[in-house]
C-alpha cells in the first residue's frame, strides 16, 4: 500500500515540476517537426524519381522511420536518466526522506514506489510518442512497420532499463553523478553494439564477444536493435540474410531478431537492477 503512496507522490512531483507538461510539449513539437522533415526528405529523395520501385520506397521509408526513432530513443534515454537519477538521490540530498521513513515505510517501498511512479510516466510517454511517429511515417511516406507493437515494446524496455540503472546509481551517488554514469553506460553499450557489428563483418571474434558481453551487462543496445529489427520491411530483411553481411555494421539496420533468451535476460536484468537498488538503499545511512 505504501508503495502506491510513494508512486502517487512521485507522479505528483513529476506533474508539479512540469515534467509531464514538458514531455507532452516535446512530443507534439517532435512529431510535428519530424512529420515536416520526413515529408521534405521524402519529396527531395523521390519527388523527381517516380520510377523508384515500391520495394525501394519501402526500404527508404523504413530507414527514415528508424532514423527518427533513433533520435527519439535518445530523448527516451535522456528522459529516463533525468527522471531516474534524482528520484532517490535528490531526496537524500534534500533531507526530505527521514521524516517519511520514520513512518512504517520500508526502504524497499520507497525504491519500488519511485520506480512505479516513474514507469507510470515513461511507459505511456514512450508508447504514445512512438506510436505517433509510426503514424506520421505511415501518413507521409505510406510505410507501415511490420511489427509496431514489438518495436514500441522494445523501446519501452530500453527506457525502463536506463531508468532502473539511473535509479540504482542514485541510491549511492549524487543525482548528477548517477545521471552521467547511466547516460554513459547507454552510449557505451550502443557503441559496443556498432563495434560488434563491425567485428562480425571483419570476422573478429574478440570484437563480437566484447559486444555480446556489453549487451548483457547493459541490455539497452540489444533492445534498441530489437526495435530496429521490428521496423524493417520483410523483403529487405530477407535480402539482407541472403547477401549483404556488411549490413551488420550498419547501426540503422538489423537483419535478425534477438533470441528469446536475450529478452528473458533483459527482463531479469531490469528486475535485478531494481532489487539491487532496494538492497543498496537499505544499506545506506541517511
Amino acid at each position: 500500500m505504501n508503495v502506491l503512496v510513494v508512486a502517487a507522490l512521485t507522479l505528483l512531483e513529476l506533474t508539479r515540476r512540469r515534467v509531464l507538461v514538458v514531455l507532452v510539449t516535446i512530443t507534439l513539437v517532435t512529431v510535428a517537426l519530424s512529420g515536416w522533415g520526413l515529408s521534405a526528405l521524402w519529396h527531395a529523395s523521390f519527388g523527381a524519381h517516380a520510377a523508384a520501385s515500391p520495394g525501394e520506397m519501402r526500404l527508404a521509408g523504413s530507414q527514415e522511420l528508424v532514423l527518427f526513432l533513433f533520435m527519439f530513443s535518445g530523448v527516451v534515454v535522456l528522459t529516463a536518466v533525468a527522471a531516474g537519477a534524482p528520484a532517490v538521490a535528490a531526496e537524500v540530498e534534500a533531507g526530505t526522506l527521514p521524516a517519511f521513513l520514520a513512518r512504517p515505510l520500508g526502504r524497499w517501498e520507497v525504491v519500488l514506489g519511485k520506480w512505479l511512479g516513474l514507469a507510470a510516466v515513461l511507459v505511456p510517454y514512450i508508447a504514445a510518442t512512438g506510436a505517433l511517429e509510426l503514424w506520421v511515417v505511415l501518413r507521409v511516406v505510406g510505410y507501415r512497420a511490420p511489427a509496431p507493437a514489438a518495436a514500441l515494446a522494445a523501446l519501452v524496455a530500453e527506457g525502463l532499463a536506463v531508468m532502473s540503472l539511473a535509479l540504482l546509481l542514485g541510491t549511492r551517488l549524487s543525482a548528477m553523478a548517477a545521471g552521467v554514469v547511466a547516460a554513459a553506460a547507454f552510449f557505451v553499450s550502443w557503441a559496443a553494439g556498432v563495434t560488434g557489428g563491425v567485428g562480425e563483418v571483419l570476422h573478429n571474434r574478440d570484437l563480437v564477444v566484447g559486444a555480446t558481453v556489453a549487451k548483457l551487462v547493459m541490455p539497452s543496445d540489444g533492445l534498441w536493435r530489437s526495435a530496429v529489427y521490428h521496423l524493417e520491411p520483410p523483403l529487405a530483411l530477407a535480402a539482407a540474410t541472403r547477401t549483404a553481411t556488411g549490413l551488420a555494421a550498419d547501426p540503422f539496420f538489423v537483419a535478425s531478431d534477438q533470441p528469446l533468451a536475450f529478452y528473458l535476460w533483459a527482463a531479469a536484468w531490469i528486475a535485478a537492477v531494481v532489487a539491487l537498488a532496494v538492497w543498496s538503499f537499505r544499506r545506506r545511512e541517511l
Binding site: 505528483l12 512531483e13 508539479r16 526530505t96 527521514p98 521524516a99 521513513l101 520514520a102 512504517p104 545511512e285
Partner: protein, 303 residues
C-alpha cells in the same frame, strides 16, 4: 518490559566506520513523561533519537519502543518524529505533506482528513495549508514538521530541536504542545539546546557526553536540591543545631547555609531559627542552574 515503560535503551551504540557516535547509551522513559536529552553538539543525541525512530540500526545494544524492538513497523506507526532538519518536499502543499504522513502512518482517509485539520489548527497553519511548502518561512516549515509529528496522537513523540527556528511565541506554543502530549499519557523525548525549555517541560533529563549518559535524573536532582541561606545578627551554635534537621548546615559569616533544604519547609526552618533565639535579618533560597551543572558535567566542553 513493564507496560508503563514506553522507551527503553540498553547499552545502545552506533558506529559510523571508525567513528563512534553513540556508546553504551542506557535509559528508560515512562508513559506520560517528558524526557530531555542534553549535551554538546556531536554528543550523540540526534543519533539516539534516530535509532529510536528506526531510521538507523544500532551497532550494539538493544532498544524497545512500546515493548517492540527498534525499527518495528507497528512501533513506528505509533511514533511521531520531528527531525532536527525539518525538510519537506517543496512541491507539495502543507496539507499534502500531512496527507502523505497520514497515509504512510496507516490513518484511514476520513480520519486522516480530521486529523490533518486538527494538527493544522494546533500549529496555526490552517490559513497557509494549501500553499506550497517551498513558499513557507523556516518557522512555518518547523511548525509543519511538528504538525506531522502530532498526527494520529502517537504514543511516543520524538522531538529533535523542535524550536530552533521559532520565535518566543512559537517556543511557548511548542512547550504547551509538549505538556498536552504528556497529559494524554504519551512519552516524549525532547532534544534541545535551550536549557530553559528543558527545565520548564522535562520531567527527567539525561546528559549525554561522547555518546554516554553521564548524569540522569530530574532537573532538581541534577542541579541539587534548593538550598536555604539565613542571615542572623549573631549566628550561634543553638541556631545551628536547630537548623540541622532541615539539611546540612554551614556557617558563612553572618549567614548559615542549609544545603538540600526542602523548599516546602523554609518557613519551618526560619521559625526554628527564631525559636532557638536567633534574630533573623534575611532569608534567601538558592539553587545551582542547569547550565552550571551541565558545564560541570561536560567539563567545559562546548556545544
Amino acid at each position: 518490559m513493564p507496560a508503563e515503560i514506553a522507551i527503553r535503551a540498553e547499552h545502545l551504540s552506533k558506529r559510523y566506520g571508525a567513528r563512534s557516535a553513540l556508546d553504551d547509551l542506557t535509559f528508560e522513559v515512562r508513559r506520560g513523561e517528558v524526557f530531555g536529552l542534553l549535551g554538546p553538539n556531536g554528543a550523540g543525541k540526534t543519533t539516539a533519537v534516530r535509532l529510536l525512530a528506526g531510521l538507523t540500526e544500532p551497532s550494539g545494544g538493544a532498544g524497545w519502543v512500546l515493548g517492540l524492538p527498534l525499527g518495528d513497523r507497528e512501533a513506528r506507526r505509533r511514533i511521531g518524529y520531528m527531525p532536527e532538519l525539518f525538510r519537506h518536499p517543496p512541491w507539495l502543499t502543507g496539507r499534502e505533506v500531512l496527507w502523505a504522513h497520514a497515509r504512510l502512518a496507516g490513518i484511514a482517509v476520513r480520519a486522516g482528513r480530521r486529523e490533518i485539520a486538527r494538527v493544522l489548527a494546533e500549529v496555526g497553519l490552517e490559513a497557509r495549508a494549501d500553499e506550497r511548502v517551498g513558499r513557507y518561512s523556516k518557522g512555518m516549515q518547523q511548525r509543519l514538521a511538528l504538525a506531522a509529528a502530532l498526527l494520529g496522537e502517537p504514543d511516543v513523540v520524538l522531538l529533535d530541536e523542535p524550536t530552533s527556528a521559532l520565535d518566543p511565541v512559537g517556543r511557548r506554543e511548542v512547550r504547551e504542545h509538549v505538556r498536552e502530549i504528556r497529559a494524554r499519557g504519551a512519552a516524549v523525548i525532547l532534544n534541545s539546546h535551550l536549557l530553559s525549555e528543558v527545565e520548564r517541560v522535562c520531567d527527567r533529563v539525561a546528559v549525554v557526553r561522547a555518546g554516554r549518559v553521564v548524569a540522569q535524573g530530574t532537573v532538581d536532582e541534577l542541579c541539587g536540591r534548593p538550598g536555604l541561606r539565613i542571615r542572623l545578627e549573631r549566628p550561634d551554635d543553638a541556631v545551628r543545631t536547630a537548623l540541622e534537621p532541615f539539611g546540612t548546615v554551614r556557617a558563612d559569616g553572618e549567614w548559615l547555609d542549609v544545603d538540600a533544604a526542602d523548599p516546602a519547609r523554609i518557613a519551618d526552618a526560619v521559625a526554628a531559627a527564631v525559636a532557638a533565639g536567633g534574630r533573623v535579618v534575611g532569608v534567601e533560597t538558592r539553587r545551582g542552574t542547569l547550565e552550571d551543572r551541565l558545564l560541570e558535567l561536560l567539563g567545559g566542553q562546548g556545544g
